[in-house]
């Protein structure tokens, strides 16, 4: 068994850091040493930021985004088009779309995708609130920004069925060649989808 080389407080810090994505025990040890070495500039502010985040972070009751206020910053933003709701699987997807800055619309975070293997069923996703939002008079379009995977598209079709009776247009993201993608490196499924969804040029 490995010998303990630091006190229990430091060991605990290392153990917790090692649970973060992308960090193993070795890199957690390096990160802990880095923090300890910059106690005033980094460790203190980080601890404060974590404490504030723990206190204030909440899930938006309207869209499911995480923020420090409810409704979240995006839902409160008057410059966004209320007629469009972009449906995403998780908060990381919402952030990715916001980074791209391609659309100024509202969002709806489903909290996952249907997956029989993982036991994720419709009742585990925030579908009722989505249907309620889609039924509001101001909503005109739902953009299903879900993964181009079997589970993602199964969920997309399920959502489409749920809102079929409502007067909203349902669209989904195109599937095809990524920017910078070379055809001979693409998988057959992507090429098939890209060819099927070709557009006039």
């Amino acid at each position: 068994m490995a010998q303990t080389i630091a006190g229990p407080e430091i060991e605990r810090l290392i153990q917790l850091l090692a649970r973060l994505p992308g960090l193993g025990p070795r890199s957690a040890r390096r990160a802990a040493l880095h923090l300890i070495g910059r106690r005033e500039q980094l460790l203190g502010p980080l601890a404060d930021a974590l404490a504030v985040a723990r206190e204030r972070i909440t899930v938006c009751s309207a869209c499911g985004n995480v923020d420090t206020s409810d409704p979240c910053t995006i839902c409160r933003d008057p410059s966004r088009d209320p007629a469009i709701i972009v449906v995403v699987e998780g908060v990381s997807d919402l952030w990715a779309l916001e980074r791209a800055g391609a659309i100024r619309a509202g969002y709806h975070v489903l909290g996952g995708v249907l997956s029989p293997l993982d036991g994720v069923r419709p009742e585990h996703l925030s579908l009722d609130s989505l249907v309620a939002r889609a039924g509001r008079p101001e909503t005109k379009e739902l953009i299903l920004a879900l993964s181009a995977t079997v589970d993602g598209q199964t969920t997309a079709h399920y959502v489409t069925e749920l809102v079929r009776h409502l007067p909203v247009t349902v669209t989904r993201l195109a599937h095809g060649v990524p920017i910078g993608g070379e055809l001979d490196y693409l998988d057959e499924g992507t090429l098939t989808a890209a060819l099927r969804q070709r557009t006039p040029f």
Binding site: G22, V150, D187
Partner: protein
């Protein structure tokens, strides 16, 4: 420390003895993907239906990489090599794509629902129990699942094959009452045997209709009514013999698949 069985295997390997146990630790097979669940930061546990080794799980290192993700989509045919130190371990798969179907299937809601139903059916099979005939039937079905004309009929035939594989095959060759092979239009829900028109007529409300395409190969694709009857028949026996004894009900996706295939009255 090397434990006893491992030492035996090592000795066997050193002596060049080809024992069946050794071969099972490292095999290659044809398969198709049933599903994946994330494992760790970059790996996945792949659930694959293999031809010679049945439904089999294994870890795929780097299965969530950009290169592997499109390959590990349900419905894709793959070549797998499985490796483990001991037979009862999860083991690791290395995967190579053979036929990519996911791109085609995700474009059609009915095909996706059919795929989900197929996976649910195959999950009834015991792990690592080989069913090569069922594998072949499932692969043929996957090839035609997005074909609205042929897909539903093939699906009903697959369900019939599934029942037979579990030992609950229906006897549709001759009439249970008279022995005739003509005019077989019913199936007895009690025995699973075909019944011809005449002896079945007085009990027609208690017998299940037997569509022609389940009995014999036809050139003409079955119509919506026949498909609905076929699924009603297979659904009854699947529930009776496979799902109900496991405290399960038929997958919801099956009913939705039938709804989209124009055979919604079957369930």
């Amino acid at each position: 420390m090397v434990n006893e069985p491992s030492r035996d295997r090592l000795t066997g390997r050193r002596l060049g003895i080809r024992c069946p146990l050794l071969r099972r630790m490292n095999w290659s097979d044809r398969a198709f993907v049933l599903g994946c669940r994330p494992f760790g930061e970059s790996g996945v546990i792949l659930e694959a239906m293999t031809r010679e080794h049945g439904r089999h799980l294994g870890l795929v290192h780097g299965g969530r990489s950009r290169r592997s993700r499109p390959v590990l989509q349900a419905g894709n045919s793959i070549a797998v090599a499985w490796r483990a130190r001991l037979d009862d371990q999860l083991g690791t798969f290395t995967v190579e794509e053979e036929v990519s179907r996911a791109g085609r299937l995700i474009a059609r809601p009915a095909a996706l629902l059919g795929l989900a139903t197929l996976a649910s059916h195959l999950r009834l099979l015991a792990e690592r129990d080989p069913h090569p005939h069922l594998f072949d039937a499932a692969e043929s079905l996957l090839d035609r699942l997005d074909d609205a004309e042929v897909g539903p009929g093939l699906f009903a035939l697959f369900e019939l094959a599934l029942l037979a594989e579990f030992g609950f095959g229906l006897d549709l060759a001759s009439c249970a009452a008279t022995g005739t092979t003509e005019d077989l239009i019913y199936v007895s829900p009690r025995t699973g045997r075909a019944v011809s028109r005449m002896p079945g007529e007085p009990y027609h409300d208690r017998l299940l209709p037997l569509p022609r395409f389940l009995r014999e190969a036809t050139d003409v694709a079955p119509d919506a009514g026949e498909i609905a009857a076929g699924f009603r028949l297979t659904g009854f026996f699947l529930t009776e013999h496979l799902y109900a004894p496991r405290d399960l009900s038929l997958p919801d996706e099956r009913a939705r698949y039938l709804g989209l295939s124009g055979s919604g009255g079957a369930v």
